[in-house]
Assembly symmetry: C2
Homo-oligomer: 387 residues x 2
């Protein structure tokens, strides 16, 4: 088995693009990733692409060949849809294919347009990541679902809105130097607590924004990197995936994410690491409470201890193990289908030293946690940089 080496990464700025298409956004990210890799588009052998709501936002399915063409790539292309973990799922199958020798040069990425739907339209589109029959038709939206999870957490383990606020404050601060971030403005705990309530206990600043954007990563085999003398210090050394029942009412726990726990266990075993080895993590903080569940699932905090991690400074830039140095979904933004590969792109730059927040990384192992829906799907990847 060969390594899956990260040859290059590319991102658009995350924000609002009323005049650009998903394919156009993906092309920008892909060209950047190929430039970063020093690899020509015609060397790409396969494209694996994640997108969630293209049918609703752009009246467009079958996006694989469309985005490959937009990126200037002539190669077979497959689209993966796993809600907010769509490009994480694409990364997983790409990593497997590179490591197993099925492909030497693969382009994996994702894109999403959301703002053209408006807030109500995007909220409705996001809801199709939940069970339409048994959740959505009962009135559930994602802020509501995560509010239920937050309340369950508070009841089981304690914690407060101020604890959650510390996560939002942290991630906004992390985003300040990130040129790709949607929001580069500092906020205070008071700002979070005084913001309009969205779904009690989650307020506006507990929630990630609607984001348009794209991300791309070029993965190559060890042999290809060696032949071309490419500079590929970072590899994806572990992959894991977990699943859970779709609807919250069918779950045993609302304050835990077994799918992410399974994905993490598999990814760590695959990489031959454990949680103590992790120096930096990008996790799926679509809401502040989601970061709590994520770091507990990854074993970066014990169950019940994740809620205080940001407040105690454990996960801040200057803490022992920073979480979401990119700004996370909360401040960097969450173009749903692009988020999985965006995490891989940010971690790659953090580990190889060319990210504005690289100085805060003390170690060689990073972990990416990408979740779909209320974590009915989860994908975890381990990245390692040569020491």
């Amino acid at each position: 088995m060969t390594d899956a080496r990260v040859a290059g990464v590319g991102l658009t700025h995350f924000g609002t693009y009323p005049d650009r298409t998903g394919r156009d956004l993906f092309a920008e990210a892909a060209v950047r990733a190929l430039d970063d890799a020093g690899i020509a588009p015609n060397a790409v052998e396969e494209v694996h692409y994640g997108n969630f709501m293209g049918e609703l936002a752009e009246h467009q399915g079958h996006q694989g060949p469309l985005v490959a063409e937009a990126a200037g790539v002539s190669a077979p292309a497959t689209r993966y849809e796993s809600a907010c973990a769509s490009s994480g799922a694409a990364v997983r199958e790409t990593v497997r294919n590179v490591r197993n020798g099925e492909v030497d040069v693969a382009l994996v990425g994702g894109a999403e347009r959301m703002n053209n739907l408006g807030t109500a339209g995007a909220t409705e589109a996001l809801a199709i990541a939940a069970d339409d029959l048994y959740e959505v038709r009962a009135g559930m939206t994602f802020p509501g679902a995560y509010a239920l999870m937050a309340r369950a957490y508070f009841r089981e383990f304690g914690g407060s809105r101020s604890d959650l606020a510390a996560i939002a404050v942290k991630n906004h601060r992390h985003a300040l130097p990130n040129e790709h971030a949607q929001y580069r403005s500092e906020i205070s705990v008071e700002d979070v607590l005084e913001a309009p309530m969205v779904a009690d206990p989650l307020g506006l600043y507990d929630s990630c924004p609607l984001t348009d954007g794209a991300s791309a990563v070029v993965l190559v085999s060890e042999a290809y990197a060696a032949e071309r003398d490419l500079d590929t210090p970072v590899s994806i050394t572990g992959t894991g995936q977990g699943g859970d029942r779709m609807a919250l009412q069918d779950r045993e726990h609302l304050a835990r994410s077994p799918a992410a726990e399974e994905a993490a266990a598999e990814a760590y075993a695959d990489a031959g690491i454990d949680a103590a080895d992790v120096a930096v993590a990008e996790v799926h903080d679509c809401f502040t409470i989601a970061e709590v569940l994520a770091i507990e699932s990854l074993g970066l905090a014990k169950h019940g201890a994740g809620i205080g991690a940001a407040r105690r400074g454990e996960t801040t830039a200057d803490g022992d193990r920073p979480v979401n140095l990119s700004g996370g979904l909360k401040a960097k933004g969450h173009p749903v289908g692009a988020t999985g590969t965006s995490q891989i792109a940010e971690l790659t730059r953090l580990l190889r030293g060319d990210h504005p927040n690289s100085d805060h990384v003390d170690g060689t192992v990073g972990v990416a946690h990408n979740a779909g829906g209320t974590v009915a799907s989860a994908v975890v990847h381990v990245l390692e940089v040569e020491p």
Copy 2:
């Protein structure tokens, strides 16, 4: 590398199910496939699922975990969307994962609901498999696109509506004994020629119907099959995928399908066979002209000779190399996301001898051809039965 053995297959009847959901249809197919395999749901390690228009037909994305749960399976699940080749794409990644030792027991399948959208709604939903900006907004629908391809073929190679009609007549005849087929009625060349025109030169009987249905296949590793002493005479021995530019106006040829040619070449090389070895084929005849392009892409007829193959009796049940013994998309039906795995299921039964049309198979090699859109995506698989 281990074999990817077909342990079991399952299908719903293909037809119209106004009162059933996609997950319910998939559960029926999956339970049948697991029963056929003699494998319990809790042995399944991964689910790979194809669906095309769930967002539009059922207001449902994130169907991976939903259909796994419906099938009684607790395992990570990923949804693939590649238009009409969605479950073909899912099969491809599943085959790779089984052969590479990533998984021992995988469930792969697909489902689609279409009839609840009505004819106009389904036609509009199908159109998102084309380029929304440059084809759909100009008024293109799929019957129109395939009519353009048929006209280009006639101009380049000759042929007539009667030649195409012979394909429809053949596939209806093949469907007669198939208990899963949507249409089990014989038609004549005159019926085809006198039917209402849909998009000249394609009439109603040149077009596949709108179909609700599901299909599932259980793939296992050689070691798993041996340990459990499973009866798995059929293996998927070759996989290939090709891509093309999305919009017809960007293609060099309208009367050829380079994506399918590439997919076939890769699959044949992977299996170590060539076209002459193929005894039976299931191909993507969404329109009669599509079967012509498919068999030429697969090398089962020379370019320009495919149009007469059914008329000459080469591809009929009693011909040298029967094509679409299931009835094909034309008569068996085309629940889009289910078609790729449905072809694998039919070929498996044809090769192992328990299909009502098995007596017409003279050989050990079958090939499945699954296409997306106007063949901007294509997936080809080779199946072989132990002699």
